[in-house]
Subunit: 218 residues, 2 copies
């Protein structure tokens, strides 16, 4: 493949038509940052994975740090597009169930976001502060308000909003973020779409044990 011109084809990497380089760099950066963390990831490898040259990262993103932030922004944009709103018309419980299913499904398809968040979560840093203030806090507020409303209606397990958030982001997302380890352990049935739905039901069995016709599997 790679075009058959008269020029030597054994170039380090075929020249790119310059169209989607930024998008390709963001996608490659998500994989590398998720796999090795900010410090461990290298811009050389990111560029190589995207079929670009390393200095193009500095040209398009100024610095490695800016590339990291753009990558996180990009992944959250993808996630928002995949999640339904919580304040739509109809029963809040149904909206909550749908939101959780969509979140788990997204975590299965894009484990990179949860991995990146977990990699930053353990040590204070400017990146973590930015991540929490920019992306996590606003979303937590929405979920927390929804959960408190549900609880005031007598629905849901006896858990605080914070505990619900922790349960969803740890137990819910870790199943896919840590898939390589769980696979070696013999847990993790397979990455099929049905696996995401099954896992969402597991989480819901804990959060909404008796609500809206939902019950623990027999």
């Amino acid at each position: 493949m790679t075009r058959a011109t008269t020029a030597p084809a054994d170039r380090t990497r075929a020249r790119r038509p310059s169209e989607s380089i930024v998008a390709d760099l963001l996608e490659a950066a998500a994989v590398e940052f998720a796999a090795h963390g900010f410090a461990g990831a290298s811009t050389r490898r990111i560029a190589q994975r995207a079929g670009a040259h390393q200095p193009q990262i500095n040209y398009h993103f100024t610095s490695k740090e800016q590339l990291w932030r753009a990558t996180v922004d990009h992944l959250f944009t993808l996630m928002d597009a995949a999640l339904p709103a919580l304040d739509r018309p109809g029963p809040l419980g149904h909206a909550f169930v749908d939101l959780l299913h969509a979140f788990i499904r997204f975590s299965a398809e894009h484990p990179e976001l949860d991995r990146i968040i977990n990699l930053e979560a353990t040590v204070p840093s400017a990146r973590l502060e930015w991540l929490v203030a920019t992306h996590l806090t606003p979303r937590f507020e929405v979920v927390a308000a929804g959960w408190r409303q549900l609880r005031s209606e007598g629905v849901g397990a006896d858990l605080t909003a914070g505990e619900v958030w922790e349960l969803i982001t740890s137990f819910g997302a870790m199943h896919f973020a840590n898939a390589p380890m769980l696979s070696l352990l013999g847990i993790h049935e397979g990455d099929g779409r049905s696996e995401a739905e099954a896992h969402a039901e597991r989480v819901l069995a804990v959060l909404l044990p008796t609500a809206t016709g939902r019950a623990p599997a027999p």
Copy 2:
């Protein structure tokens, strides 16, 4: 402090009496590996934190990789010393409750181990294979056998052994491993010893909702 000899005191680091260097290096390595991952941690910083010189790491541990494995071994040794056995005399349910309390308490006191595991869990590697085969699989087998026994006695929520393992290691341990993020989010009340007990009760409320006089808080 640091001894007042005639020699210049502004040495990079005071000379060590050579007694506990290995132990100090292991402790420093746990902190640095937990904070930055294997690739992101640097042997220079580890040595500096331990009050040693960087080449001493290669002398005592041969390589960075061997230092990492020794660090993991060390942390698991600490954990084993802090956990009660599951097959002691008496009701298995009680032993299970005690084990979980001790595990959560250890996770609160030594969040480094869970952090190191999570940092490796997301990408296949020789280190991950070693970690799972050497340390995780044997312990998982014990917990899984205990859980299946409990279930056969009609005790415990309707969860597989794998799901119980995931719940404990993610929701149970993440509360302390990700404390910096949760603190910025406004979750996480404080690191007190009572916080560990409270969190263990939360996990048990999910795992053993109705067993042995245990019930969800009113």
